[in-house]
């Protein structure tokens, strides 16, 4: 280490957003400076070089001809790569100082060390908590342990996202998770109050925390084609429909991270729907209703498979009671429902139409009319289920 010092400190914190992004992306100061240099940051300094050249300034300026040759004469009017690097390092030092605060964003607003205006604070936080969908997709559903952190090496290789960035994303997730894991109340609100991130981002984090908490299986080969967004949308649907913060849930004492236990118990009663008598009645109602919109072949197909499909739907519902089967929600959904339908050549619309009718079916069956409770549970289940299926139904 030498006694070399080259620092620049301002009274107000100003963020070079380009550099901040590169820092977040895990580029080293050297790499970032190189990127900027290629973009021509240096040249933009010496506006009107043509004029100056004419006047012979550049030649007379030429302190170091060798350097000039390398960089092109125009640059010498403005900054040199050294200056760019030193600027980059100053910014990086600032980012590193800010990082301590960004880990607990509420501190950023209270601290006096850095004088940052509110908009910039918001931007800093939001960008810091931004993640790469590809990276999070890889670690989704995994336990956020040190083992997973080691696994990031593979993630980095696979996604080509620099390891530093992967680690930041992982650490952010883990931190958010640890903070809200045991907290009462709305998951999304908890995240927002503690991390001050934008609505949209907070929602995404809530979904990720939800998935992580239930350890949903997302890495099976069969699910490979699904994107992070697919999972997050589904998780969000589950939170809004099936968790304690759902409208139907009367008892808000528990945490959002968990599914509404009462609802899950009620789901067991759905077994009734797959009993033979009811099944037939439903089948006929559904086929009746869909007759106009479905082609003949599909109707025939439906006729053959209706039982299996219904069983799959109910089994998934039933399985939500058992934590082990909850984990396989996505696998089951894809394996038992989506894939068979795809094989039969159903479109996304087909399945949606079908499921909507299935959802309404019990209302039209006399036997169920006097079981209002079952109806509400069925609807609550199906509301989310339909949307999840549609979301995951990639053709």
């Amino acid at each position: 280490m030498s006694t070399y010092v080259d620092v620049f400190v301002g009274n107000f914190v100003t963020i070079d957003t380009d550099l901040y992004d590169m820092w977040l992306d895990g580029l080293s100061a050297l790499e970032a400076a190189a990127v900027l240099q290629k973009q021509g940051v240096l040249q933009s300094m010496g506006a009107r070089p043509d004029v100056l050249q004419k006047q012979g300034v550049l030649q007379s300026m030429g302190a170091r001809p060798a350097v000039l040759q390398k960089q092109g004469v125009l640059q010498s009017m403005g900054a040199r790569p050294d200056d760019l690097l030193s600027d980059t390092q100053d910014n990086y030092r600032l980012f590193m100082g800010l990082e301590k605060l960004l880990k607990w964003p509420s501190k950023l607003a209270n601290q006096q060390i850095y004088q940052i205006d509110a908009d910039t604070q918001k931007m800093l936080i939001d960008k810091y908590y931004q993640f790469d969908p590809v990276v999070v997709r890889e670690i989704l559903g995994r336990k956020l342990s040190s083992n997973t952190r080691k696994y990031l090496d593979d993630v980095c290789e696979k996604t080509k996202v620099p390891l530093r960035s992967c680690r930041r994303q992982f650490d952010n997730l883990k931190r958010v998770f640890k903070t809200v894991e045991e907290m009462l109340g709305s998951l999304y609100q908890n995240i927002q109050t503690h991390y001050l991130i934008s609505d949209e981002l907070a929602k995404q984090y809530a979904a990720i925390v939800f998935i992580t908490n239930h350890r949903f299986e997302t890495s099976k080969k069969k699910l490979n084609h699904l994107t992070l967004d697919d999972f997050l949308v589904c998780a969000d649907l589950m939170i809004t429909n099936w968790s304690y913060s759902a409208e139907e849930c009367t008892d808000h004492e528990d945490m959002d991270v968990d599914l509404d236990r009462l609802f899950l118990q009620d789901l067991r009663d759905l077994k009734l729907l797959v009993e033979k008598d009811y099944m037939d009645e439903q089948k006929s109602f559904v086929i009746q209703t869909l007759r106009s919109s479905f082609k003949r072949r599909k109707l025939q197909d439906l006729d053959e498979n209706f039982k299996n499909i219904m069983k799959a739907i109910i089994n998934i519902a039933y399985g939500l009671n058992h934590s082990k089967e909850v984990r396989d929600f996505f696998v089951d959904l894809v394996e038992k429902l989506i894939e068979p339908c795809q094989q039969s050549g159903w479109t996304c619309e087909d399945i949606e139409n079908f499921l909507v009718v299935v959802k309404d079916a019990p209302q039209h069956i006399a036997a169920f009319r006097n079981m209002p409770n079952l109806n509400t549970v069925w609807e609550r289940y199906m509301n989310a289920f339909i949307q999840c299926t549609v979301k995951l139904y990639h053709t």
Partner: protein, 1053 residues
């Protein structure tokens, strides 16, 4: 007489985790003042403790209140072992002792630990109840207001100037005591911080006493310096200008009870007869001087007489002050006239007629001579008796005496813009004093301040016209001339020509530039020419000054930043031999610096320097000299002609070289003319000078002015590769859109063009520098490189002006150079002045019109420049300025594909980072005395603190760079917190006077000392009544916002 200090510790926040087991802290606070210590309860297991303590009351002498800072120390309570220190908060109580200061201090103070930096914050309320003390023999000087601002502070009016005040106190440095060997670095650092703080308090108290004795109520242009002499101790020096200020719109008040002037517009009539005859006698007896009184209205001019023995005048002062100057609290209440008399006599009676201000009320400056300086090299020895630091005092007296005699040699009776500096290397110390010799008019009574530009001014403005061409900085040279001086040639001359432009708000007065002596008796050979404005008086062809550009001097075009740099090696001697070598080198260094400045000035096509600051630093094997100034083209002075290169040529090859050089020079000069907009309007087009007074002594007109000035500036070249010319050519320009000056205002850019403060910055650079043959070039390159870095850093702020740029160069180690640069980047609104901005103007029309004015335009600037670069695609949407994010598209090396995604991902995030270009809200720090676009509502006291930071884990904090970055950031944060606690939102006249970095990277250690100072103020936005910082508690004394009326309209009370 005692005062009561009351302190309440309200709460803490974001404290560090002190107990690993619980991840919490059991915090309590010790409140220490003087030797008394009180404590809060322990707030168990909390990182955000709420103590809500009762008021801790300390009953103390006001003397102690001035000297000692309040010390709060936060601890983590430990039942079994000793309590762990979290950190400390020092609060200077002086602002509470001010007459119209804040009534309490309250706010969140960062808890600072010298080993760990900032660790959480404390919320504290402090009040002081002071019982006024009328004892004549008291030791305290509460109520004297200190301003680092080197001009009459905004909102005040200058009533009287009492002159130069200086004081120094010395102490042992705790770092060098035997006990330091056994105590921890932390306690050693804290002991130092405490002693620094205490010395600073003591110094200010002593200066305050002197001020009161002189009859003043404030000191402006206060400069405080710490000399860390190592083994021989610490010296804290303070200099300033004692004045009586009164608030505008208030009856003039002064603590000595001088009643407001019964304002007769022309007090001279009465004063002249009443002025003590003693002084006149003294003069006539000692100097064969004729005092001419051309008109009855003319005040007896206070021409200084160089042959007057300095002793005489100083004696007069010390003995006379008791009688003539009302001192003490009760005594002066009725002595209006004696008071005024003392004013008038002052300049002669002052032992050192020095003024530390750098800009002056209109009418104050009569003539500017030139730069005068003195240096001396001394060997440090142990200060045996800290109570009587005679040696240091004597050293400075020598320096000041020399400076004074130089000034007198130039026919000037005053030195303005005066500063003192030291440079220490082991046992050698260089002391220097520098200022600008001038003739001034101290009689700034109301009538004058009110209408400074009315013709009557001249009548009041009696002074001798004298002058000095500031050609010589080298004091050796000057010494030679002292003897030659026109000892008996003082003639009282009236200022005759005032060029008054009534149009606009600028009033020029060319007489300020006229020589203060008779042309025929110049102290040394000077090129004199005829004033381009009035065409009557003679003036030098160039003018060097240490002050800010006075409003009286008309300039053309824009100012330019000029710097001369030299580095000489010297033998690594010790003691006497070392001192001798340095001392032998000094005149040559001064000469070389002067030469460089001259050359650079000429090539810039300019003829005046403002804010000249010369720093000579001594290292073990090096002597470094840096002179920094802002050049301008002064209208009254002759326009510099093209330099002619002359040299001995022996071959045709050399001849072509010479021709080539000459061509380059003229090209450069032309180009400079272009860049700095130096298009001189024909002087004949100027509003014709109104000769408002009759010129009594027309002798000047007989001068043959053709002799000196027609000659072109000649550059003698020894060989065609002469560095002096090279360096002239090498000098780079700031890139388009950036202007640079080291003064507080930019010549040629009216302050109204400055829109708002963008950024105050501090840059610390240090590197090992191995000099070989081309030492000079390399050394210059270091500075050019630093400037380039600055420009690059601030590239997004254009169009802007870097003001108050200061360079501080040190030679801390054998081959190391450390440079600290600081300044403020101010947004420039009016782009008409920045001629280079035409691209943007052209482009601007292509862009959609945008609703708001200033900041948005800056935005476009940025975009335009990017477009020019042809890379980033930018777009301005209708509502304002969201810049679409589109960086690195193809350039990313790591993962191109991913970036694309990211990009879309992030596109939603509006690019708020560039918000830097809007005025930010918060606490402003600025080296200037004003904040563009905002008004200073109230002065809340000066701030001065010494920070020490040490680290034994250098690698872990990011090396030396990381360490320094954090430390400076923390220092700024603490300063801001203190300003805010006084109810302020800005610190003007901010200065980092000291930045000493010691490091031992091999041991993973380093230590840094930083001293900062400035004036806390509360700002108001233009047209905005509420202050930006909400008052948490009602501020009792809060004045109704002052409405500032330009001095010209102020109504005499």
């Amino acid at each position: 007489m005692p005062g009561r200090l009351k302190v309440r510790v309200v709460a803490g926040r974001e404290l560090p985790v002190m107990d690993r087991a619980t991840d919490l802290t059991d915090a309590f606070v010790e409140v220490k003042f003087g030797n008394e210590v009180q404590k809060t309860d322990v707030c168990k297991k909390s990182l955000n403790p709420q103590w809500n303590s009762d008021w801790f009351v300390f009953e103390v002498e006001d003397e102690v209140l001035q000297d000692e800072p309040l010390e709060l120390r936060a601890f983590d309570h430990d039942t079994y072992s000793s309590h762990d220190v979290i950190g400390k908060v020092y609060i200077d109580l002086n602002p509470l002792l001010m007459k119209d200061g804040p009534s309490f201090i309250s706010g969140w103070f960062p808890i600072y630990d010298t080993m760990h930096g900032i660790r959480g914050e404390l919320n504290v309320i402090v009040k002081v109840q002071l019982f006024s003390d009328f004892n004549r023999f008291r030791q305290s000087s509460c109520g004297v207001q200190f301003f680092c601002t080197a001009e009459v502070p905004c909102g005040f009016k200058l009533q009287f100037i009492h002159g130069f005040v200086e004081e120094l106190v010395v102490n042992d440095d705790p770092e060098y005591k035997w006990i330091d060997k056994i105590r921890t670095p932390r306690s050693s650092n804290e002991a130092r911080q405490r002693i620094f703080s205490k010395l600073s308090g003591e110094l200010q108290r002593k200066i305050g006493l002197k001020i009161l004795e002189m009859g003043g109520n404030s000191v402006i242009g206060y400069i405080q310096n710490f000399d860390l002499e190592g083994e021989s101790g610490i010296v804290v020096r303070g200099i300033g200008t004692s004045v009586t200020l009164c608030k505008i719109h208030q009856a003039p008040s002064s603590p000595v009870g001088v009643s407001p002037l019964k304002d007769s517009p022309l007090p001279e009539d009465t004063i002249a007869p009443s002025s003590p005859t003693a002084s006149q006698n003294l003069r006539s007896s000692t100097s064969p001087m004729k005092v001419s009184m051309p008109t009855s209205l003319n005040r007896r001019s206070s021409d200084s007489d160089i042959s007057t023995p300095p002793k005489g005048s100083s004696l007069t002062e010390s003995s006379g002050s008791g009688g003539a100057v009302p001192t003490g609290q009760g005594s002066g209440s009725k002595s209006v006239y004696p008071k005024s008399c003392s004013q008038q006599l002052n300049i002669d009676l002052m032992e050192f007629p020095f003024f530390t201000m750098i800009s002056f009320p209109p009418g104050f400056l009569v003539h500017i001579g030139g730069v005068v300086s003195a240096r001396s090299v001394k060997l440090l020895d142990k200060i045996h008796n800290p109570e009587e630091p005679e040696t240091r005092d004597a050293w400075w007296t020598e320096i000041r005496t020399e400076v004074r005699s130089h000034a007198r040699a130039m026919g000037c009776h005053a030195v303005i813009g005066y500063t003192e500096k030291t440079s220490i290397c082991e046992e050698v110390i260089i002391l220097s004093g520098i200022g600008t010799a001038a003739k001034v008019n101290l009689n700034l009574d109301q009538s004058l301040t009110v209408s400074p530009y009315r013709p009557s001014l001249q009548l009041l403005n009696a002074s001798i016209e004298h002058q000095l061409p500031s050609k010589d900085i080298g004091d050796k040279d000057r010494k030679l001339f002292v003897d030659v001086n026109l000892a008996n040639q003082l003639s009282v001359q009236r200022i005759t020509n005032m060029d008054i432009c009534d149009d606009g708000d600028r009033h020029y007065n060319c007489s300020v530039c006229h020589i203060p002596y008779k042309a025929a008796s110049a102290p040394f050979p000077v090129n004199l020419s005829q004033c381009a404005i009035c065409k009557r008086k003679s003036l030098p062809d160039i003018l060097f000054t240490t002050i800010d550009p006075p409003s009286e001097i008309q300039t053309y075009g824009r100012g330019a930043f000029i710097q001369a740099r030299i580095c000489r090696s010297k033998a690594d001697n010790k003691g006497e031999a070392n001192a001798k070598e340095i001392s032998d080198n000094l005149p040559f260094m001064e000469y070389e610096l002067h030469n460089q400045l001259m050359n650079k000035l000429k090539i810039k096509g300019m003829n005046g320097l403002f804010g000249l600051n010369i720093q000579i630093s001594v290292g073990e094997t090096k002597l470094v000299g840096v002179a920094t100034a802002t050049a301008a083209l002064l209208a009254p002075l002759p326009i510099p002609s093209l330099p002619r290169v002359l040299g001995q040529v022996s071959s045709s090859e050399e001849r072509t070289h010479l021709v080539d050089l000459q061509k380059k020079l003229s090209d450069k000069m032309l180009q400079n003319k272009e860049i700095y907009d130096l298009h001189v309007t024909d002087p004949s087009n100027q509003p014709s000078p109104r000769s408002l007074t009759t010129d009594e002594s027309e002798d000047e007109l007989d001068l043959d002015l053709s002799t000196g000035n027609k000659e072109a500036f000649v550059l003698e070249v020894d060989d065609t590769k002469d560095e002096s010319i090279k360096s002239m050519l090498l000098d780079s320009h700031p890139p388009p859109g950036i202007q640079v000056c080291n003064t507080k205002t930019m010549p040629g850019t009216p302050a109204s063009n400055f829109s708002f403060n963008i950024q105050m910055f501090t840059q610390v650079w240090r590197r090992e520098v191995m000099f070989d043959q081309q030492m000079k070039e390399d050394f210059t390159e270091i500075f050019e490189c630093l400037l380039r870095k600055l420009y690059f850093k601030l590239r997004k702020m254009t169009p802007c002006c870097l003001c108050g740029l200061t360079f501080n160069v040190e030679v801390p180690d054998e081959d190391e150079i450390q440079i600290t640069v600081s300044g403020v980047c101010v947004g420039v609104q009016d782009r008409v002045n920045t001629s280079t901005m035409d691209i943007s103007v052209a482009n601007k029309s292509l862009l959609k019109p945008i609703s708001s004015e200033g900041d948005d335009m800056m935005f476009q600037m940025e975009e335009v420049s990017e477009q020019t670069a042809g890379t980033a695609v930018t777009k301005v949407d209708g509502q304002g300025n969201r810049r679409e994010y589109s960086l690195m598209s193809n350039t990313r090396t790591i993962s191109g594909a991913k970036i694309q995604k990211l990009e879309s991902h992030r596109r939603n995030i509006s690019n708020v980072g560039s918000g830097a270009l809007k005025p930010q809200r918060g606490v402003e720090l600025t080296p200037l005395f004003y904040v563009p676009g905002r008004k200073i509502g109230r002065h809340l006291g000066s701030y001065n603190f010494f920070f020490i930071r040490e680290s034994t884990s250098l690698r872990e904090v990011g090396g030396l760079c990381g360490f320094m970055h954090n430390f400076i950031t923390e220092v700024l944060a603490i300063v801001r917190a203190h300003v805010a606690s006084l109810g302020g939102n800005a610190l003007v006249a901010y200065k980092m006077t000291e930045c000493v970095l010691l490091s031992n990277p091999n041991k993973n250690q380093s230590q840094c000392l930083i001293n900062v100072c400035g004036d806390a103020v509360s700002l108001q936005n233009e047209g905005d009544i509420t202050t930006a910082i909400p008052d948490q508690f009602q501020r009792k004394h809060s004045d109704s916002p002052l409405i500032l009326i330009p001095a010209t309209n102020a109504v005499p009370p």
